[in-house]
Protein backbone atom coordinates (compact mmCIF):
# COMPACT_ATOMS: atom_id res chain seq x y z
CA UNK A 1 0.00 0.00 0.00
CA UNK A 2 1.70 3.12 -1.17
CA UNK A 3 1.12 6.81 -0.73
CA UNK A 4 3.03 9.19 -2.91
CA UNK A 5 3.59 12.69 -1.62
CA UNK A 6 4.51 15.44 -4.08
CA UNK A 7 7.87 17.12 -3.68
CA UNK A 8 7.50 20.69 -2.60
CA UNK A 9 9.34 22.97 -4.94
CA UNK A 10 7.81 26.29 -3.96
CA UNK A 11 10.26 27.24 -1.19
CA UNK A 12 12.99 27.12 -3.84
CA UNK A 13 11.10 29.72 -5.85
CA UNK A 14 10.87 31.95 -2.80
CA UNK A 15 14.63 31.65 -2.23
CA UNK A 16 15.32 32.22 -5.93
CA UNK A 17 13.39 35.48 -5.93
CA UNK A 18 15.28 36.79 -2.92
CA UNK A 19 18.59 35.85 -4.50
CA UNK A 20 17.62 37.60 -7.74
CA UNK A 21 16.63 40.70 -5.79
CA UNK A 22 19.87 40.90 -3.81
CA UNK A 23 22.06 40.07 -6.78
CA UNK A 24 20.56 42.21 -9.53
CA UNK A 25 18.78 45.18 -8.04
CA UNK A 26 21.84 47.41 -8.52
CA UNK A 27 22.35 46.26 -12.09
CA UNK A 28 18.68 46.81 -12.85
CA UNK A 29 18.81 50.30 -11.39
CA UNK A 30 21.82 51.06 -13.56
CA UNK A 31 20.03 49.74 -16.65
CA UNK A 32 16.92 51.79 -15.87
CA UNK A 33 18.96 54.95 -15.29
CA UNK A 34 20.43 54.60 -18.82
CA UNK A 35 16.94 55.28 -20.15
CA UNK A 36 15.30 57.41 -17.48
CA UNK A 37 18.15 59.41 -15.99
CA UNK A 38 16.01 59.93 -12.88
CA UNK A 39 16.58 57.99 -9.65
CA UNK A 40 12.98 57.89 -8.50
CA UNK A 41 11.71 56.74 -11.92
CA UNK A 42 14.54 54.22 -12.18
CA UNK A 43 13.56 52.73 -8.80
CA UNK A 44 9.95 52.50 -10.02
CA UNK A 45 11.16 50.65 -13.12
CA UNK A 46 13.18 48.25 -10.97
CA UNK A 47 10.20 47.58 -8.73
CA UNK A 48 7.89 46.97 -11.68
CA UNK A 49 10.49 44.68 -13.22
CA UNK A 50 10.60 42.65 -10.01
CA UNK A 51 6.80 42.38 -10.05
CA UNK A 52 7.07 40.85 -13.55
CA UNK A 53 9.90 38.60 -12.45
CA UNK A 54 7.90 37.38 -9.44
CA UNK A 55 4.94 36.55 -11.67
CA UNK A 56 7.19 34.65 -14.07
CA UNK A 57 9.70 33.21 -11.60
CA UNK A 58 9.36 29.74 -13.12
CA UNK A 59 10.99 31.05 -16.32
CA UNK A 60 14.27 31.47 -14.45
CA UNK A 61 16.27 28.33 -13.84
CA UNK A 62 19.67 29.58 -12.69
CA UNK A 63 20.04 32.76 -10.66
CA UNK A 64 23.58 33.45 -11.82
CA UNK A 65 23.80 32.94 -15.56
CA UNK A 66 24.28 35.26 -18.55
CA UNK A 67 20.85 34.32 -19.87
CA UNK A 68 19.20 35.26 -16.58
CA UNK A 69 21.13 38.54 -16.47
CA UNK A 70 20.02 39.34 -20.03
CA UNK A 71 16.43 38.44 -19.21
CA UNK A 72 16.40 40.69 -16.16
CA UNK A 73 18.04 43.63 -17.94
CA UNK A 74 15.61 43.32 -20.87
CA UNK A 75 12.60 43.34 -18.54
CA UNK A 76 13.96 46.35 -16.67
CA UNK A 77 14.65 48.24 -19.89
CA UNK A 78 11.10 47.67 -21.04
CA UNK A 79 9.62 48.82 -17.76
CA UNK A 80 11.85 51.89 -18.00
CA UNK A 81 10.54 52.53 -21.51
CA UNK A 82 6.95 52.31 -20.21
CA UNK A 83 7.73 54.91 -17.54
CA UNK A 84 9.54 57.04 -20.09
CA UNK A 85 6.50 56.94 -22.38
CA UNK A 86 4.15 57.81 -19.54
CA UNK A 87 6.33 60.74 -18.50
CA UNK A 88 6.66 62.05 -22.06
CA UNK A 89 2.91 61.74 -22.54
CA UNK A 90 2.35 63.77 -19.39
CA UNK A 91 4.85 66.36 -20.55
CA UNK A 92 3.08 66.50 -23.93
CA UNK A 93 6.18 65.43 -25.82
CA UNK A 94 6.39 62.73 -28.47
CA UNK A 95 7.96 59.42 -27.53
CA UNK A 96 11.30 58.84 -29.20
CA UNK A 97 10.94 55.38 -30.72
CA UNK A 98 14.60 55.41 -31.58
CA UNK A 99 15.54 55.34 -27.91
CA UNK A 100 18.40 52.89 -27.90
CA UNK A 101 18.75 52.35 -24.18
CA UNK A 102 21.91 50.39 -23.57
CA UNK A 103 23.88 50.48 -26.80
CA UNK A 104 26.13 47.45 -27.02
CA UNK A 105 29.52 48.03 -28.58
CA UNK A 106 29.58 45.73 -31.57
CA UNK A 107 32.74 44.82 -33.44
CA UNK A 108 30.91 45.14 -36.77
CA UNK A 109 31.75 41.66 -37.87
CA UNK A 110 28.23 40.60 -38.69
CA UNK A 111 25.62 42.69 -40.49
CA UNK A 112 22.77 41.01 -38.70
CA UNK A 113 24.37 41.41 -35.28
CA UNK A 114 25.12 45.07 -35.82
CA UNK A 115 21.62 45.73 -37.17
CA UNK A 116 20.11 44.00 -34.16
CA UNK A 117 22.19 46.12 -31.80
CA UNK A 118 20.93 49.27 -33.51
CA UNK A 119 17.26 48.45 -33.17
CA UNK A 120 15.18 50.53 -30.76
CA UNK A 121 14.92 49.03 -27.28
CA UNK A 122 11.38 47.66 -27.62
CA UNK A 123 12.05 45.92 -30.95
CA UNK A 124 15.41 44.57 -29.82
CA UNK A 125 13.92 43.34 -26.56
CA UNK A 126 11.22 41.19 -28.13
CA UNK A 127 13.76 39.61 -30.48
CA UNK A 128 16.17 38.89 -27.63
CA UNK A 129 13.39 37.47 -25.49
CA UNK A 130 12.26 35.31 -28.40
CA UNK A 131 15.55 34.18 -29.91
CA UNK A 132 18.01 34.37 -27.03
CA UNK A 133 15.98 33.73 -23.88
CA UNK A 134 13.69 31.39 -25.83
CA UNK A 135 10.30 32.65 -24.66
CA UNK A 136 7.08 32.04 -26.57
CA UNK A 137 4.72 34.76 -27.76
CA UNK A 138 2.35 34.31 -24.83
CA UNK A 139 5.18 34.51 -22.31
CA UNK A 140 6.59 37.67 -23.90
CA UNK A 141 3.10 39.18 -23.93
CA UNK A 142 2.71 38.48 -20.22
CA UNK A 143 6.12 39.94 -19.39
CA UNK A 144 5.71 43.12 -21.39
CA UNK A 145 2.04 43.67 -20.64
CA UNK A 146 0.96 43.30 -24.25
CA UNK A 147 -1.46 40.99 -26.01
CA UNK A 148 -0.18 38.13 -28.17
CA UNK A 149 -1.15 39.72 -31.46
CA UNK A 150 0.76 42.86 -30.56
CA UNK A 151 3.84 40.76 -29.75
CA UNK A 152 3.59 38.86 -33.05
CA UNK A 153 3.30 42.13 -34.96
CA UNK A 154 6.20 43.62 -33.05
CA UNK A 155 8.39 40.61 -33.83
CA UNK A 156 7.45 40.81 -37.51
CA UNK A 157 8.11 44.57 -37.64
CA UNK A 158 11.40 44.14 -35.80
CA UNK A 159 12.56 41.60 -38.37
CA UNK A 160 11.51 43.93 -41.19
CA UNK A 161 13.44 46.73 -39.50
CA UNK A 162 16.49 44.47 -39.37
CA UNK A 163 16.31 43.77 -43.12
CA UNK A 164 15.81 47.44 -43.85
CA UNK A 165 18.76 48.43 -41.66
CA UNK A 166 20.98 45.84 -43.25
CA UNK A 167 19.98 47.06 -46.73
CA UNK A 168 20.32 50.77 -46.01
CA UNK A 169 23.61 50.46 -44.24
CA UNK A 170 24.78 47.66 -46.53
CA UNK A 171 25.68 45.66 -43.48
Amino acid sequence: MLIYLAMIEAPEEKLKFEQLYMRYRGLMFHAAMQILNNQSDAEDAVHQAFVSIAENIKKISLVDSPKTRSYIVIITQNKAIDIYRANRRTAGAEFNEELGGIVPQMPGDSGLTEALARLPVRSRSVLLLRYHVGLGTAEIAGLLGMNRDAVRKLIWRAKESLRKLMEEEEL
Binding site: L27, P66, H132
Partner: protein, 238 residues
Protein backbone atom coordinates in the same frame (compact mmCIF):
# COMPACT_ATOMS: atom_id res chain seq x y z
CA UNK B 1 18.43 33.27 -50.19
CA UNK B 2 18.10 37.04 -50.67
CA UNK B 3 21.06 39.12 -49.55
CA UNK B 4 19.30 40.79 -46.63
CA UNK B 5 17.39 37.84 -45.27
CA UNK B 6 18.32 35.63 -42.34
CA UNK B 7 17.19 32.42 -40.73
CA UNK B 8 15.86 32.01 -37.20
CA UNK B 9 19.07 30.21 -36.32
CA UNK B 10 21.16 33.14 -37.51
CA UNK B 11 18.93 35.49 -35.55
CA UNK B 12 19.42 33.28 -32.49
CA UNK B 13 23.21 33.52 -32.76
CA UNK B 14 23.02 37.27 -33.33
CA UNK B 15 20.69 37.65 -30.32
CA UNK B 16 23.10 35.78 -28.07
CA UNK B 17 25.95 37.97 -29.28
CA UNK B 18 24.00 41.20 -28.73
CA UNK B 19 22.72 40.07 -25.31
CA UNK B 20 26.27 39.34 -24.15
CA UNK B 21 27.53 42.63 -25.57
CA UNK B 22 24.66 44.41 -23.80
CA UNK B 23 25.70 42.87 -20.50
CA UNK B 24 29.34 43.72 -21.17
CA UNK B 25 28.37 47.39 -21.55
CA UNK B 26 26.97 47.33 -18.00
CA UNK B 27 29.00 47.01 -14.80
CA UNK B 28 29.08 43.57 -13.17
CA UNK B 29 26.23 43.12 -10.68
CA UNK B 30 28.60 43.38 -7.75
CA UNK B 31 29.79 46.82 -8.87
CA UNK B 32 26.37 48.41 -9.26
CA UNK B 33 26.07 50.32 -6.02
CA UNK B 34 23.03 52.40 -5.31
CA UNK B 35 21.46 53.34 -2.01
CA UNK B 36 17.77 52.68 -2.61
CA UNK B 37 15.15 54.95 -1.08
CA UNK B 38 13.10 53.87 1.93
CA UNK B 39 9.97 53.95 -0.27
CA UNK B 40 11.56 51.43 -2.67
CA UNK B 41 12.69 49.21 0.21
CA UNK B 42 9.15 49.30 1.60
CA UNK B 43 7.56 48.34 -1.74
CA UNK B 44 10.09 45.54 -2.24
CA UNK B 45 9.52 44.23 1.30
CA UNK B 46 5.80 43.98 0.48
CA UNK B 47 6.56 42.21 -2.80
CA UNK B 48 8.97 39.76 -1.14
CA UNK B 49 6.33 39.02 1.52
CA UNK B 50 3.76 38.38 -1.22
CA UNK B 51 6.17 36.02 -3.02
CA UNK B 52 6.83 34.18 0.25
CA UNK B 53 3.09 33.85 0.88
CA UNK B 54 2.49 32.59 -2.65
CA UNK B 55 5.30 30.05 -2.20
CA UNK B 56 3.74 28.93 1.08
CA UNK B 57 0.37 28.61 -0.66
CA UNK B 58 1.89 26.50 -3.42
CA UNK B 59 3.74 24.32 -0.88
CA UNK B 60 0.59 23.90 1.14
CA UNK B 61 -1.52 23.06 -1.84
CA UNK B 62 0.96 20.63 -3.30
CA UNK B 63 0.93 18.83 0.01
CA UNK B 64 -2.84 19.16 0.11
CA UNK B 65 -3.06 17.81 -3.44
CA UNK B 66 -1.19 14.75 -2.26
CA UNK B 67 -3.53 14.52 0.72
CA UNK B 68 -6.48 14.98 -1.63
CA UNK B 69 -5.22 12.11 -3.75
CA UNK B 70 -4.91 10.04 -0.59
CA UNK B 71 -8.42 11.00 0.35
CA UNK B 72 -9.80 10.04 -3.05
CA UNK B 73 -8.07 6.73 -2.53
CA UNK B 74 -9.51 6.59 0.95
CA UNK B 75 -12.95 7.42 -0.36
CA UNK B 76 -12.67 4.57 -2.80
CA UNK B 77 -11.42 2.14 -0.19
CA UNK B 78 -14.20 3.40 2.07
CA UNK B 79 -16.55 2.54 -0.73
CA UNK B 80 -14.93 -0.88 -0.97
CA UNK B 81 -15.76 -1.73 2.62
CA UNK B 82 -19.01 0.18 3.15
CA UNK B 83 -21.80 -1.44 1.14
CA UNK B 84 -24.26 1.37 1.78
CA UNK B 85 -21.74 3.97 0.67
CA UNK B 86 -21.03 1.98 -2.46
CA UNK B 87 -24.69 1.77 -3.24
CA UNK B 88 -25.03 5.50 -2.85
CA UNK B 89 -22.16 6.33 -5.18
CA UNK B 90 -22.08 3.21 -7.30
CA UNK B 91 -21.78 5.27 -10.42
CA UNK B 92 -18.22 6.02 -9.36
CA UNK B 93 -16.71 2.62 -8.74
CA UNK B 94 -16.60 -0.23 -11.11
CA UNK B 95 -13.57 -2.36 -10.32
CA UNK B 96 -11.55 -2.89 -7.21
CA UNK B 97 -8.36 -4.85 -7.46
CA UNK B 98 -5.96 -5.96 -4.76
CA UNK B 99 -3.68 -3.02 -5.00
CA UNK B 100 -5.55 -0.34 -6.88
CA UNK B 101 -8.96 0.83 -7.90
CA UNK B 102 -10.18 1.93 -11.29
CA UNK B 103 -12.41 4.80 -10.37
CA UNK B 104 -14.97 5.01 -13.14
CA UNK B 105 -18.03 7.05 -13.82
CA UNK B 106 -20.78 4.83 -15.09
CA UNK B 107 -23.74 6.02 -17.11
CA UNK B 108 -24.23 9.08 -19.26
CA UNK B 109 -21.74 11.61 -18.02
CA UNK B 110 -22.09 15.30 -18.71
CA UNK B 111 -18.73 15.81 -20.37
CA UNK B 112 -18.66 19.57 -19.85
CA UNK B 113 -17.55 20.94 -16.54
CA UNK B 114 -20.19 23.17 -14.93
CA UNK B 115 -19.14 26.50 -13.44
CA UNK B 116 -19.53 26.98 -9.74
CA UNK B 117 -19.45 30.23 -7.81
CA UNK B 118 -18.00 30.72 -4.38
CA UNK B 119 -20.69 32.82 -2.79
CA UNK B 120 -19.08 33.11 0.65
CA UNK B 121 -15.53 33.34 1.93
CA UNK B 122 -14.18 34.37 5.33
CA UNK B 123 -13.08 37.99 5.48
CA UNK B 124 -9.54 38.81 4.49
CA UNK B 125 -8.95 36.00 2.01
CA UNK B 126 -7.31 36.97 -1.27
CA UNK B 127 -7.15 34.94 -4.46
CA UNK B 128 -3.59 33.73 -5.00
CA UNK B 129 -3.90 31.39 -7.97
CA UNK B 130 -6.50 29.75 -10.14
CA UNK B 131 -6.30 26.95 -12.68
CA UNK B 132 -8.91 25.59 -15.04
CA UNK B 133 -8.99 22.81 -17.62
CA UNK B 134 -11.97 21.31 -19.43
CA UNK B 135 -12.29 18.71 -16.66
CA UNK B 136 -11.02 20.41 -13.54
CA UNK B 137 -11.05 23.78 -11.79
CA UNK B 138 -9.14 24.94 -8.72
CA UNK B 139 -8.68 28.20 -6.85
CA UNK B 140 -6.31 29.07 -4.01
CA UNK B 141 -6.72 31.74 -1.35
CA UNK B 142 -4.78 32.99 1.63
CA UNK B 143 -5.14 35.71 4.23
CA UNK B 144 -2.64 37.91 6.03
CA UNK B 145 -2.62 35.55 9.04
CA UNK B 146 -1.21 32.73 6.96
CA UNK B 147 -4.48 30.79 6.69
CA UNK B 148 -4.72 28.90 3.43
CA UNK B 149 -7.68 27.61 1.46
CA UNK B 150 -8.07 25.64 -1.76
CA UNK B 151 -11.32 24.81 -3.50
CA UNK B 152 -11.38 22.26 -6.31
CA UNK B 153 -13.97 20.49 -8.37
CA UNK B 154 -13.80 18.29 -11.43
CA UNK B 155 -15.40 15.67 -13.58
CA UNK B 156 -14.91 12.13 -12.39
CA UNK B 157 -14.14 10.77 -15.82
CA UNK B 158 -13.53 7.20 -16.86
CA UNK B 159 -10.23 5.55 -16.24
CA UNK B 160 -8.83 7.36 -13.23
CA UNK B 161 -6.45 4.97 -11.52
CA UNK B 162 -5.78 5.61 -7.88
CA UNK B 163 -3.60 3.66 -5.52
CA UNK B 164 -5.09 2.36 -2.33
CA UNK B 165 -4.99 4.41 0.82
CA UNK B 166 -5.17 2.17 3.84
CA UNK B 167 -6.96 4.00 6.65
CA UNK B 168 -5.76 1.39 9.10
CA UNK B 169 -2.12 2.04 8.28
CA UNK B 170 -0.63 3.18 11.53
CA UNK B 171 0.77 6.45 10.25
CA UNK B 172 -2.39 7.42 8.44
CA UNK B 173 -4.72 6.43 11.26
CA UNK B 174 -2.79 8.81 13.50
CA UNK B 175 -3.02 11.62 10.97
CA UNK B 176 -6.73 11.98 10.22
CA UNK B 177 -10.04 11.56 11.91
CA UNK B 178 -12.79 10.91 9.39
CA UNK B 179 -16.54 11.53 9.55
CA UNK B 180 -19.46 11.34 7.15
CA UNK B 181 -20.95 14.69 6.21
CA UNK B 182 -23.63 16.04 3.91
CA UNK B 183 -23.22 19.12 1.72
CA UNK B 184 -26.54 20.37 0.33
CA UNK B 185 -27.81 16.79 0.21
CA UNK B 186 -24.61 15.34 -1.29
CA UNK B 187 -22.59 12.73 0.58
CA UNK B 188 -19.07 13.51 1.63
CA UNK B 189 -16.26 12.88 4.05
CA UNK B 190 -14.52 15.30 6.39
CA UNK B 191 -10.94 14.45 7.35
CA UNK B 192 -9.78 16.40 10.40
CA UNK B 193 -6.21 17.37 10.88
CA UNK B 194 -4.18 15.21 13.16
CA UNK B 195 -0.99 15.93 15.01
CA UNK B 196 1.16 15.62 11.92
CA UNK B 197 -0.84 17.92 9.68
CA UNK B 198 -2.16 21.45 9.49
CA UNK B 199 -4.83 20.65 6.94
CA UNK B 200 -8.50 19.83 7.18
CA UNK B 201 -9.93 18.15 4.09
CA UNK B 202 -13.47 17.90 2.85
CA UNK B 203 -14.53 15.83 -0.15
CA UNK B 204 -18.01 15.32 -1.54
CA UNK B 205 -19.67 14.06 -4.73
CA UNK B 206 -22.54 15.21 -6.90
CA UNK B 207 -23.64 11.89 -8.41
CA UNK B 208 -26.22 13.52 -10.67
CA UNK B 209 -23.68 15.71 -12.43
CA UNK B 210 -20.68 13.41 -12.02
CA UNK B 211 -18.62 16.00 -10.15
CA UNK B 212 -16.30 15.68 -7.18
CA UNK B 213 -15.48 18.61 -4.89
CA UNK B 214 -12.78 19.19 -2.33
CA UNK B 215 -11.82 21.91 0.09
CA UNK B 216 -8.44 21.80 1.80
CA UNK B 217 -7.61 24.38 4.45
CA UNK B 218 -6.08 25.23 7.78
CA UNK B 219 -9.45 26.74 8.74
CA UNK B 220 -11.73 24.88 11.14
CA UNK B 221 -14.49 22.49 10.17
CA UNK B 222 -17.47 24.83 10.60
CA UNK B 223 -15.90 27.44 8.31
CA UNK B 224 -14.97 24.86 5.68
CA UNK B 225 -18.45 23.35 5.78
CA UNK B 226 -20.02 26.79 5.35
CA UNK B 227 -17.81 27.56 2.34
CA UNK B 228 -18.83 24.20 0.83
CA UNK B 229 -22.51 24.85 1.39
CA UNK B 230 -22.15 28.25 -0.28
CA UNK B 231 -20.63 26.78 -3.46
CA UNK B 232 -23.34 27.26 -6.08
CA UNK B 233 -23.83 26.23 -9.66
CA UNK B 234 -23.44 29.30 -11.88
CA UNK B 235 -24.32 27.80 -15.25
CA UNK B 236 -24.43 24.35 -16.80
CA UNK B 237 -21.24 24.45 -18.85
CA UNK B 238 -17.74 25.92 -18.68
Amino acid sequence: MAKYSFTDKELSYASAYVANAMLASLPAPGYCCHRFSSEFERKMALLCAKVKRRAAVISFFRAAAAVFLCILIGAVSWLAVDVDARAAVQKWVSEIFDDHVVYRFEGDADSKLPVYEITWLPEGFELMESHATPTHSSVYFSDSNGNLLSIRYGIMHDGIIIEFFDPTHENQAETFACENVSINGMDGKFYSKGSGSNTNNLIWFDNNLGIYFSINSSLNKSVIMHIAQCLELANSTN
